[in-house]
Amino acid sequence: MDILNALVAILNYVVVPATAYGAQLALGALGVTLIYGILRFSNFAHGDTMAFGTAITILITWALQSAGIGFGPLPTALIALPFGIAATALLVLGTDKIVYSYYRKVRAAPVVLTMVSVGVMFLMNGLTRLLIGVDEIKFADGARFLISAQEFKKATGLAEPLAIRSTQAITVITAAIVVAALFWFLAKTRTGKSMRAFSDNEDLALLSGINPSRVVAMTWIIAAALATIAGTLYGLDKSFKAFNYFQLLLPVFAAAIVGGLGNPLGAIAGGFIIAYSEVAVTYAWKKVAMYLIPGFQPDSLLQLLSTEYKFAVSFTILIIVLLFKPTGLFKGKSV
């Protein structure tokens, strides 16, 4: 019984939240990795693209809610999501036209584009705050739980609860659908293949029937969609706050780099590695340890790091991976 209790505790406090968080990071990292692989620069504005997309989605969610439109047990934000994606796609396409296209034309070095994206990041950050403010916003509605703690306890008779929030389930399911669609798209469609070709060998892609401006536009649209979906799922799961998304950039980049920049599969693996490490390192293991070792009464919480330091985890993993495998676990392009 104690072992079961320990397992449920791990499931409840580590596996479930880390899986949801990992799916969000993976979607974010996929956007970063696509931009890196195809447009060849690290897009620091990605975190704020997520924030902008989520902000628009929230605004539309509110509009829908006040019009009395809901989505049954599912969050209304899912209906608003396509509009958020469309608005974000327009924003990044506009940014590309005004800003990045010039640097591509003069064939600027990747580091120049990266610095430019830092500027874009601050601009987008300001734009988002202007739109929706700096406060914390909770916009999840619909059913709260897929499995609630009481139900679980009653059904199993265990002392430890297991709760799965519906937003966590939605996150994982949506992420799985999006990832499957993306991989199908990249592997099977002409557009997806053009994008891979562009990533493989830009010179040759230019000398084939591949229209570079279309590939670039497609990359931005997909990155915007991934960013908005990742941001909205994160916001549903936790809450929305413009600055949190700015900070989210760090684990998202760590995930993309750990997996291997430019490698979509790596981005997903990286997302889960970072998420699981963050959650596992900041979780207080005292209770689990007490279940597993009878008579064990630790004085501390058995927490390796307090939650405030969770971003340090991403960086530590990042440094370790870069030291031993500079191209990431899944062999991306070297950083």
């Binding site: 891979r196 040759l204 029937g209």
Partner: protein, 262 residues
């Protein structure tokens, strides 16, 4: 016909191409030779739209194509290969070929999802064409191999194959023989001749292998120091004083002469 008139390409103070004028006649296999640093590759890159010329014009069948970007030249039927063969390494050989033709239905996001039938038809046709090309080049057995795993020579064949996926008018081959073994070089040479005879491709070939040039090309254009030095049939070119001097330098030229006299 490609006509290059008084073309200059300067990189800072360095005049890589310094007033070159030449013509590539339709239906010919024109060789472009010259010592290293003569400006051959730069000339190629300017014609193929990789670099914009400092001054001068390039026309194709009377149409001004100076400084057009590579993908527009591609649609006009002007194709090129690279000195170091380029491929899409993570795709299979067959996919590499199927990538080439532009304007496919599946190219837009909407069609990719909602025009599956038309795309399937197009892809079936492309697949057939790709397999024919691989047959022609005698590398059918490699069709499902990742292109990144091919040898240097096989990649060069693949590059040639790419030009066969569309209606190419003129193909620029940059050192197609570099680092390729004799047997494979012969295969490449045969393919070039057949494409020229059977499909009417015009070729412009940069090459250092004089046997290869002599076998394939007529006429041969010699470049040195960014200018065209001489032009003519391969055997007359090989006898040309100025050409020998540019290639071998004055001292060696004398040795060659005495060697020939003995």
């Amino acid at each position: 016909m490609i006509r290059v008139e008084n073309l200059h390409k300067h990189f800072g103070g360095f005049h890589a191409v310094d007033g070159a004028s030449l013509e590539i006649a339709t239906g010919s296999i024109t060789g472009l030779i010259g010592p290293n640093g003569a400006g051959k590759s730069t000339l190629f890159n300017v014609i193929a739209g990789v670099h914009k010329p400092t001054s001068g014009t390039v026309t194709m069948d009377g149409e001004d194509i100076t400084g057009l970007p590579p993908h527009e030249l591609f649609h006009k039927g002007l194709l090129r290969t690279f000195q170091i063969a380029h491929e899409f390494p993570t795709m299979t050989v067959r996919e590499n070929l199927m990538m080439v033709p532009g304007g496919q239905t599946g190219e837009t996001l909407w069609n990719a999802w909602f025009q599956r039938g038309r795309i399937a038809e197009e892809e079936a046709a492309l697949l057939k064409k790709a397999d024919e090309v691989l047959d022609f080049l005698t590398i059918s057995h490699l069709k499902d191999e990742r292109a990144g795993n091919l040898s240097g020579g096989q990649k060069k064949l693949l590059e040639l194959g790419r030009t066969m996926m569309v209606e190419a008018k003129i193909v620029f081959l940059d050192e197609v023989g570099a680092g390729v073994n004799r047997t494979l070089l012969n295969t490449i040479g045969d393919a070039i001749v057949r494409l020229n005879k059977e499909r009417g491709y015009t070729f412009c070939v940069i090459e250092h292998d004089m046997d290869f040039i002599g076998r394939l090309c007529d006429p041969v254009i010699v470049m040195a120091e960014g200018k065209v030095l001489a032009e003519g049939a391969p055997d007359t070119i090989m006898q040309n004083e100025a050409v020998i001097e540019a290639y071998l330098g004055r001292g060696l030229k004398n040795k060659v002469k005495t060697g020939a006299a003995q």
